[in-house]
Subunit: 471 residues, 2 copies
């Protein structure tokens, strides 16, 4: 991992003086937790961690860094899985102290919060205003709004509400020269030139520091039905998904696929996880329907599942009879990743392909992985409704874990080459970060990479913003 050079002493003095004693730290113990992440794949280092509490402080800090050509890694809740938030010599700029809720305006179905508000807090703010903020993911208690925007996060409700990009009405950001871009609009329509916020969303901190955002809110749904169904294979899942979408006019809020091996891991390693059906099935789908009409979600679920049984698409099913049962179904899904840990490490992939091709992709990738690494266990699960699978390959039982992890890169190439042939993406929702930036050069066209570089150079000519990440 190449490291950025240390900042000049004058720059450090200027930064400390600009932010005051509560705005920075050099205390190794305070900094340590923010130099790694939950998979412990990265262990970074930084000469200085900045903790600005206001947009003006962020602007002052970035302006000083720009003046001294000091590189910055912005960081939110440190829940990213690809290392984009971990500094290697750069100044670490934490946005967690940007905590102000600027406004909540239910008539606009909008709220403006600063970058350090967590995703869970944003959901709760919306609920208190009798509205719904739909982005939801396992790390929501820690992940910050600034982070989920910078990484264009996805999660479990994308099929209905879209990814984070679709949920942002406006942005405020500090640009790489320290100027503040004020794009905090509550407008649904604005055609007055390039939509600059679209560039900042998903830019992984390479074009500026997001300091606040105006988010879209939605009405609260009046009925909800959750079911787990057993399926012979992912081909049946795709057919069932299409029927569910048609039958409900878009009322599918989640459609998640799990392989039996992942269910086995969860039952074995995670306390409180229950067998979801009476029978054991090769594949499972967790389906959630919602509707603005009372009773409509439940009625729709009954209709869809009856028809699916008749068409031999599903082999077993259970509809949650209460909140607790629905939570149990979700727990089974949400623990899929954590349940792998005790089984030894794995090659992780966060890929997407067109929904129509996901079953073919799974067939082909799994055959190829089994050829490449005999005995490896594929635990595929994820947001099949979005064509997005977390396709994890676990070490063969009894094999040398370290040697297996050493083949991660070569193994990923096997998987990602198939993804590319299916016109898919090697990073559906996690971003490229430090993990995949180099690898992505294999799959992006030279034109795309050159265009991204030209844009980046135009906006950050010194390349001080998260320099090791993206192109």
């Amino acid at each position: 991992m190449s490291a950025s050079p240390p900042p000049p002493a004058d720059a450090v003095i200027a930064l400390k003086s600009a932010l005051g004693p509560s705005g920075w730290t050099e205390d190794a113990a305070e900094i340590a937790p923010w130099l790694t992440e939950w998979r412990n794949r990265w262990n970074g280092h930084t000469p200085l961690m900045l903790k600005p509490a206001t947009t003006a402080e962020v602007a002052r800090a970035v302006e000083i860094c720009a003046r001294y050509s000091v590189a910055i890694v912005p960081q939110g809740g440190d829940t990213g899985l690809v290392g984009g938030q971990i500094p290697y010599g750069e100044v670490l700029l934490s946005t967690r102290r940007l905590r102000t809720v600027r406004d909540v305006t239910p008539l606009d179905d909008a709220m403006t919060v600063e970058a350090g508000v967590t995703l869970l807090e944003a959901q709760q703010l919306a609920a208190r205003a009798d509205r719904f903020f739909p982005l939801s993911l396992a790390a929501e208690g820690t992940a910050t709004i600034g982070g989920v925007i910078s990484t264009n996060a996805g999660g479990t409700a994308v099929i209905r509400y879209g990814v984070m990009r679709d949920l942002v009405l406006g942005l405020e950001a500090v640009m790489p020269d320290g100027q503040v871009f004020n794009g905090l609009k509550r407008l649904r329509k604005d055609n007055t030139g390039y939509d600059l916020k679209q560039l900042l969303i998903g830019a992984e901190g390479t074009l500026g520091v997001i300091t606040a955002a105006t988010l879209k809110l939605f009405p609260i749904m009046r009925s909800r039905a959750t079911a787990v169904v057993g399926l012979a294979d992912p081909h049946a899942a795709i057919q069932l998904l299409a029927r569910a979408k048609s039958e409900t006019g878009g009322g599918v809020e989640a459609f998640e696929l799990m392989k039996r091996v992942g269910v086995d891991f969860a039952l074995k390693h995670i306390p409180g996880v229950r067998e979801p059906l009476d029978s054991v099935q090769p594949w499972y789908a967790l389906i959630e329907l919602t509707s603005g009409e009372p009773g409509a979600a439940e009625a729709g679920m009954e209709r869809i599942l009856s028809a699916a049984f008749e068409a031999d698409l599903i082999t077993d099913a259970a509809i949650a009879q209460n909140e607790t049962q629905a939570r149990d179904f979700w727990k089974l899904r949400e623990e899929q990743s954590a349940a792998q840990k005790p089984e030894g490490g794995g090659w992780k992939h966060d890929v997407s392909v067109p929904v129509s091709r996901i079953a073919d992709f799974l067939d082909e990738a799994t055959a190829a992985v089994e050829r490449f690494e005999p005995g490896a266990r594929v635990s595929a699960f994820g947001h099949v409704g979005d064509g997005n699978m977390h396709y994890d390959v676990l070490c063969p039982p009894g094999a040398d874990l370290k040697a297996f992890l050493g083949r991660w890169e070569a193994g990923s190439e096997v998987v990602h080459d198939i993804v590319a042939r299916y016109e898919g993406s090697i990073s559906a929702e996690h971003g490229l970060g430090r993990l995949k930036t180099e690898e992505a050069r294999r799959y992006k066209s030279p034109l795309e990479i050159a265009t991204m570089q030209a844009i980046r150079t135009a906006i950050d000519p010194q390349r001080i913003m998260n320099p090791a990440v993206l192109f």
Copy 2:
């Protein structure tokens, strides 16, 4: 209107040779209709009209133009209202012959069509695949997919489905140097760097020529209810809108506001338009609800209108009893613009403000306009559900029309300054084009303009793409 210099003779020869006899024209009669538009506000000129039939031909043409530094204006169906498609000396590049439907894949809820397919044809293609393509606007029989993407068009279903930006999964475009950007993805999630298609959407042809797009499709709804209600003022409309959204969990597909004066014009000038209610009302809202559940839209409409009567929010209402009546309601709305024409010209505005502030904006703007131009008639109508009003100011009866139109710019400044104070946009859905680019400099921040210019220079260093449009 400053004009681009004529292209060198060598460039013209090269372009003709590259595209062959059916790929270009210099015939004044053939070109004439494409140098103006339906408001007859622009009358442009061009040395050469290019009519490529394939992406490869577009690429060859643009590459030649780049080599000779020849400016290009791309044009779709020529339905734009701000002159962005009208050349003044530039080569006119029509995309209307790019007509191939590349694929329709219902399991992906996606289809890929070339830029010259009309919006109406796209809707029909979707319907044949048992899907729905939601973008809908008055010019849909003529407007092309390339055009509605380049201008990020809006229309009547934005409240539920979003603007064109929200409906594009992937793009193919010829960049300003003639290279083809192949971003025709059917993916719902892809986080591998900046989302370049977002830059091209709404760029009004300044960053490249869009040649094809992969569009999102949606399920067909199973119930639909259309109503016209009478309202005392727009404040009541906003309250009613919020209730309708809450009550239906987002089932509002259209919420359009009309002022009585516009209804009067339509009744007077448009054959077949009927009085929508038994009573005469100061303001009207056209509401359309849809649902995936059979019967739910009708039930929801009854529930909402009953509650609105009880709360004194509405003073009269009619629910369409059949398709014909629903079409009559829509005709009244869709003819609002055409019905103004016989009343003499007007200052047209396409503005948006936050939904919560639209009533206050209308109050304040109308008072200001009446002070500025006593006797002028304000005909405000539009997509109040998106905060977007077509705010038109018509000549006082009997006044000198030419002198009145001469005050357009000053009058618009009165309206747009109020829009700016309400944190709105001076072009909600039409774009800036030739009409509003200069004016927009008053309202965009220097940072935004400089950033847009830097991006444009990075992508089109010679500024050959639609040079008079945007910054």
